[in-house]
């Protein structure tokens, strides 16, 4: 983010590195294709070798659009020992955690078992990823905390996975993706919210997913750049669905984190929802309060990608509506749209808000002392 051009780059760069921060969106990767096998029953190892993975999405391997850079990652993030970006703990420590003084790093693995048609396989893969997160990451570096990935399309097995991990301090949230078979407020997903609420774990909704639907509401676009902006549209329909299906009403202690889809759109979505709700509330009598109230009480937002308006006052207006206590700083390491901690927040933020933005909010939400 780069609201005001700083003349003196040297003076600007090491601004916050000494202040401890939380990074609420880190993507750990597997070094090899078979790295999960030790956590998978023989049956599923054989299944993967013989049948592979059958996803809801048309393209079975990889994302629907080519990414800007290999593995959608920073080109300087290849570990020296080889393997894809994000696959080496020691290099992550050296490149991200140590120099930026990351005190809390939340792991959000992608390419898990989510969006797979065979629900037993999905559950087995998700569970394996969760074991792998402990073994390879959180048990080796106490700064790192994992997200419980669940077979999202099968609410019951997902809830079982959450209950099994509940109370395990290696995990701080449940992770869903924004593109699913149906909008996220629908009943098939309710067991996930119920289990998360019981466990006291926030549910993170990360941009992306393998739901099989076109990635924009008007069909498949031509360019990757359209997918990038489409993430906020998808997150908006997910959030509208959560509100209007009554998820927040039914699970009043549920906390949701919108990850990697921006937040500048939050006020306008809430205003629009409030307006139509006033006129059409009889259609959704289970939505008892203005939608904006649920959103402001039960939703948090990660910062990467930060909105980047020409005037920082516009950014501050949006944040003031959302609340300085609702933003969670994130880099999205090792992905190419990474945000550098010392450069994202323009000048003119009070010390208290700055501390909340970089660390305090995340510690409070994730219950890290």
């Amino acid at each position: 983010m780069n609201i005001q051009f700083r003349e003196n780059q040297e003076a600007a760069s090491p601004l916050t590195v000494k202040t401890a921060i939380a990074d609420c969106d880190i993507h750990p990767a597997r070094a090899t294709r078979t790295e999960l096998y030790p956590y998978l029953a023989k049956r599923w190892q054989h299944h993967l070798e013989v049948y592979g993975v059958h996803a809801y999405q048309g393209m079975m391997e990889g994302p629907p659009y080519p990414k800007a850079q290999p593995n959608a990652s920073r080109r300087d993030a290849y570990p020296p020992e080889g393997g894809p970006q994000g696959s080496s703990l020691s290099f992550m420590q050296k490149q991200l955690l140590d120099p930026n003084n990351v005190q809390l790093g939340v792991l959000n693995p992608l390419n898990t078992g989510q969006g797979i048609r065979n629900h037993e396989l999905a559950a087995a893969l998700c569970s394996a990823i969760n074991d792998w997160q402990i073994d390879k990451w959180t048990s080796k570096d106490k700064r790192l905390k994992a997200s419980i990935v669940v077979g999202n399309e099968d609410g019951l097995s997902a809830a079982a996975e959450i209950r099994e991990r509940a109370g395990d301090k290696n995990f701080v949230q449940v992770l869903l993706l924004s593109r699913n078979v149906e909008p996220l407020g629908q009943r098939r997903y309710w067991p996930i919210y119920q289990a998360a609420e019981e466990a006291g774990l926030p549910v993170g909704v990360h941009a992306f997913g393998f739901g099989g639907n076109p990635i924009t509401p008007s069909g498949w676009p031509s360019y990757y750049i359209e997918e990038m902006v489409g993430h906020s549209q998808c997150q908006q329909s997910a959030l509208a669905s959560l509100v209007l299906e009554g998820v927040f009403e039914r699970f009043p202690k549920l906390k949701m984190v919108m990850i990697e889809a921006g937040f500048g759109w939050a006020p306008s979505l809430a205003w629009r929802l409030d307006k139509v709700w006033q006129r059409l509330r009889s259609e959704v009598p289970h939505v008892k309060r203005p939608p904006s109230e649920y959103i402001r009480e039960q939703v948090w937002w990660t910062t990467q990608p930060m909105e980047d308006p020409e005037s920082r006052e516009d950014l501050f207006d949006v944040i003031n509506w959302i609340g300085w206590d609702r933003l969670l700083f994130a880099t999205d390491y090792p992905h190419w749209d990474y945000d550098e901690p010392s450069r994202v927040l323009p000048a003119g933020v009070s010390e208290a808000n700055r501390e909340a933005f970089y660390l305090g909010n995340a510690r409070a939400l994730y219950g890290i002392g």
Partner: protein
């Protein structure tokens, strides 16, 4: 403006680049087809080591469907967010009004001239037989 010896010419053949720190500033020097260019190795966007990125060309279009690809090997693409800069001038193609990378003139000087002058970088062993790449900053 001081001149700094970077390397003997044969240590920086065409297509290669060299990273170094001069007076606390991270600098990269490129040899593009026998021409030398120096750039500040810090991206003005968010501070990445800019010159770790790939050298690409410049895709431009006046009309939809008509794409011109020029300046092949002369555009550095930042390893983080992919902003593009002309290594000849440091000019940004992303937001030319506000952003540029500092460019430093680089060229070759005969060994005899660098050894004679007061500009010899102490860390580099200088031998008069060779020509040297020199950067000015």
């Amino acid at each position: 403006m001081a001149r700094h010896v970077i390397a003997p010419v044969d240590e920086l053949p065409p297509g290669t680049r060299k990273f170094l720190e001069i007076d606390g500033r991270p600098i990269a020097v490129f040899n593009i087809k026998g021409e030398y260019f120096g750039l500040m190795n810090r991206c003005p966007h968010q501070g990445a080591s800019l010159c770790e990125g790939p050298l690409i060309g410049l895709a431009q279009s006046n009309n939809p469907g008509e794409i011109e690809y020029t300046k092949l090997g002369e555009i550095i693409r930042c390893p983080w967010h992919g902003w593009e800069f002309d290594i000849r001038t440091g000019q940004s193609y992303c937001d030319p009004r506000r952003f540029r990378v500092k460019a430093y003139p680089a060229h070759v000087e005969p060994g005899a001239s660098v050894v004679k002058g007061p500009y010899v970088a102490e860390t580099i062993a200088v031998s008069v037989e060779s020509d040297y790449v020199v950067v000015e900053l």
